[in-house]
């Protein structure tokens, strides 16, 4: 890779402009909270603020896997294929964090294994990832406890590290190198002082994470310990806070469950829509059953829904993909009205195993 560059703060707008994609999304600071927003809807100062704050409350997954989207038309009338429309569009994501890059790696594993999910695949191919180091961690962040760093290490095209009055820009892919090359007028060489500021900023964030997470200890072997802990009393305490709102799964960058719905747009013309679903909802796993009888539900008990979320992320994903389905972004803990914090639950799993091992 070429030497790192320096992007001055006042060049951020020009940098965003040089991304030649049909759609652009970036972190923007709105009333003190960073959120993913369309670049067209916010001022460049808000983006500068967003890139320097903790990770946004929502996740970029809604760009790659929208909450609700038309996936097929069938029957009479216009037959323009929504997949073609998705393939024809390009998108830039500005502000993917270290945890976001790991979430991308996870979604790639799930969505691109045979048979690949076509919509995700065409969008992913047409996405440019501009990642950013976390100059600050959110209070619920715990990437460090899962072995992650608060700066991107994989799957980015260009990474920006916020330093004094600008960013250190490093290419992470051929696409990224070409982007920097083509727009070299926007950049200067990064100086040793810039690189030192970057090193310090990374160290400070790591220290912040260490401080805020020092009371938590996670199991060393989730696959072994999680199934062993399911009878633990602490689960009941945690469950009592859950109101099944589905907020945790909606903000999670790795939760991907969906459901297909059909409708009639005009007489004889039909549409199929794909919409997010949540394993925490009551209808999620309800099956068809004999007429008149209560429909079977393999996870009827609230507890089995609650534990399923953990089992999927910290057990089944290890079996299937060899990686955890959680990147420690802390979004679920921040959004949960019952203040259910994965750090506490996973530390309880560990404690249960130590006490009753």
């Amino acid at each position: 890779m070429a030497e790192p560059k320096f992007l001055a703060e006042n060049m951020l707008g020009s940098f965003l402009a040089c991304l030649e994609t049909a759609r652009k999304f970036a972190n923007a600071l709105i009333d003190g909270t960073a959120l993913w927003k369309s670049v067209d809807d916010v001022a460049v100062e808000q983006i500068a603020g967003g890139l320097r704050s903790a990770r946004p409350l929502n996740s970029f997954k809604s760009v790659l896997l929208p909450a609700r989207e038309l996936v097929a038309r069938y029957g009479e009338g216009e037959q323009k294929d929504p997949l073609q429309e998705a393939a024809d569009s390009t998108v830039a994501l500005v502000g993917v964090r270290g945890c976001g890059c790991r979430a991308l790696a996870y979604l790639d594993a799930v969505m691109l294994n045979e048979p690949p999910e076509s919509f995700y695949r065409v969008r992913r191919e047409n996405t440019i990832v501009i990642s950013v180091d976390c100059a600050e961690a959110a209070p619920t962040c715990f990437c460090d406890l899962l072995g992650g760093n608060a700066y991107p290490e994989e799957l980015f095209d260009v990474n920006l590290s916020p330093v004094e009055s600008g960013y250190v820009a490093a290419a992470g892919s051929k696409k990224g190198s070409e982007l920097l090359e083509k727009n070299q007028r926007l950049f200067s060489e990064a100086t040793p002082a810039h690189l030192e500021q970057m090193r310090q900023m990374r160290q400070e964030t790591a220290e912040q994470l260490r401080q805020q997470n020092r009371e938590y200890t996670f199991p060393e072997d989730f696959q072994e310990d999680l199934p062993q802990s399911v009878e633990g009393m602490f689960w009941r305490y945690e469950l009592s806070g859950c109101v099944q709102c589905g907020g945790c799964t909606a903000v999670c960058p790795t939760c991907y469950c969906f459901l297909l719905y059909d409708g009639e747009r005009a007489p004889g013309a039909y549409e199929r829509v794909r919409a997010w679903d949540s394993c925490q909802f009551s209808g999620y796993a309800v099956m068809a059953g004999p007429p008149g009888a209560t429909k079977p539900d393999p996870r009827r008990e609230h507890m089995s829904k609650f534990q399923h979320r953990f089992a999927h992320k910290f057990w089944y994903d290890l079996v299937n993909w060899g990686v955890l389905g959680c990147v420690g972004c802390g979004r679920c803990g921040q959004t949960c009205p019952g203040a259910i914090d994965l750090r506490r639950v996973l530390s309880e799993v560990k404690k249960e195993r130590v006490e009753h091992g």
């Binding site: 029957g75 999620y284 068809a288």
Partner: protein, 273 residues
């Protein structure tokens, strides 16, 4: 560009056969053939209403026309049951792995069906009967709630008369027309007299039945790896992506729907309903 996996193929509804008061067989002709293996399933679309998963009950050696036997039980199946031949449906698939027919070669196959569960098993029976010389013996055991709910009743006699095939049937609740056996399907397993060591079990039916069939077979000395269960879950995508059809780490739409009991026995939601 790859084909849109969510867009159904057009399929003409050729024929509707009333099998029982609650089950009809729908014969469809997709706009292009859908080659499937016994036990693989399709998502059948009632336009504008939605899709539901079904395992064709017709012979896997015919890809141009598919027969699908459907129990009327809810939103999609209610609207299906209202339809007359001539209308256009939609179909996606095939999905899943299908039955392990190669593994069964040279063995005795014990096929245990309950209620509409005989429908998916029938594609397997077609395959076994068409290649009967590759199998030691095929023992079909079937149970339904009452005589009127017996699926494919008109074919029972012919099945029983085939070489290397045995057939037995029971109902939970008899009526005046019934002079056959009475009792749940597991009662037919008690008097099997099969060489357990050389036999594989394949079963499909309501969850509660699968549970008792599994227990009965374990009691008879079958090992978990000899038992294959067609498991039902709510399904949507058929591609292993929408997440809902799991048992532990397995996605039934991709890894199943027929699962070796050995693989799933340790996950607690296998039989819960």
């Amino acid at each position: 560009m790859a084909e849109n996996p969510y867009r159904p193929l057009k399929a003409e509804l050729l024929e509707v056969i009333q099998e029982t008061p609650t089950i009809k067989t729908f014969v469809i002709r997709p706009e292009r053939p859908i080659p499937f293996a016994a036990g693989q399933f399709v998502q059948l679309t009632v336009p504008g209403i939605g899709e539901a998963p079904f395992t064709p009950s017709s012979s896997p050696s015919v890809a141009e026309e598919l027969g699908i036997s459907v129990l009327r039980t809810g939103r999609v199946t209610d609207s299906l049951h209202e339809l007359e031949p001539g209308v256009t449906l939609g179909v996606r698939g095939p999905f899943g792995k299908g039955y392990p027919t190669e593994k069964l070669e040279g063995k005795t196959v014990l096929v245990v069906g309950g209620g509409v569960g005989l429908a998916p098993l029938r594609s397997l029976l077609h395959h076994l009967f068409e290649n009967i010389n590759s199998y030691e013996h095929v023992a079909v055991r079937y149970g339904a709630r009452d005589p009127s709910e017996l699926l494919y009743r008109r074919e029972f006699e012919a099945w029983g008369e085939k070489d290397r095939v045995s057939f037995d049937v029971t109902v939970d609740v008899p009526d005046e027309s019934w002079d056959g056996k009475v009792g749940v399907v597991t009662t037919l397993l008690e008097e099997l007299g099969l060489d357990v060591e050389n036999t594989y079990v394949v079963s499909c039916g309501p969850l509660i039945m699968l549970r008792f069939v599994t227990l009965a077979c374990l009691n008879l000395g079958f090992r978990p790896e000899q038992i294959y269960l067609s498991l039902n879950r709510k399904m949507s995508c058929g591609l292993g992506k929408c997440g809902r059809c799991n048992i532990g780490p397995y996605y039934l739409c991709k890894d199943g729907p027929d699962m070796c009991y050995e693989k799933i026995k340790d996950y607690k939601d296998v039989f819960s309903a």
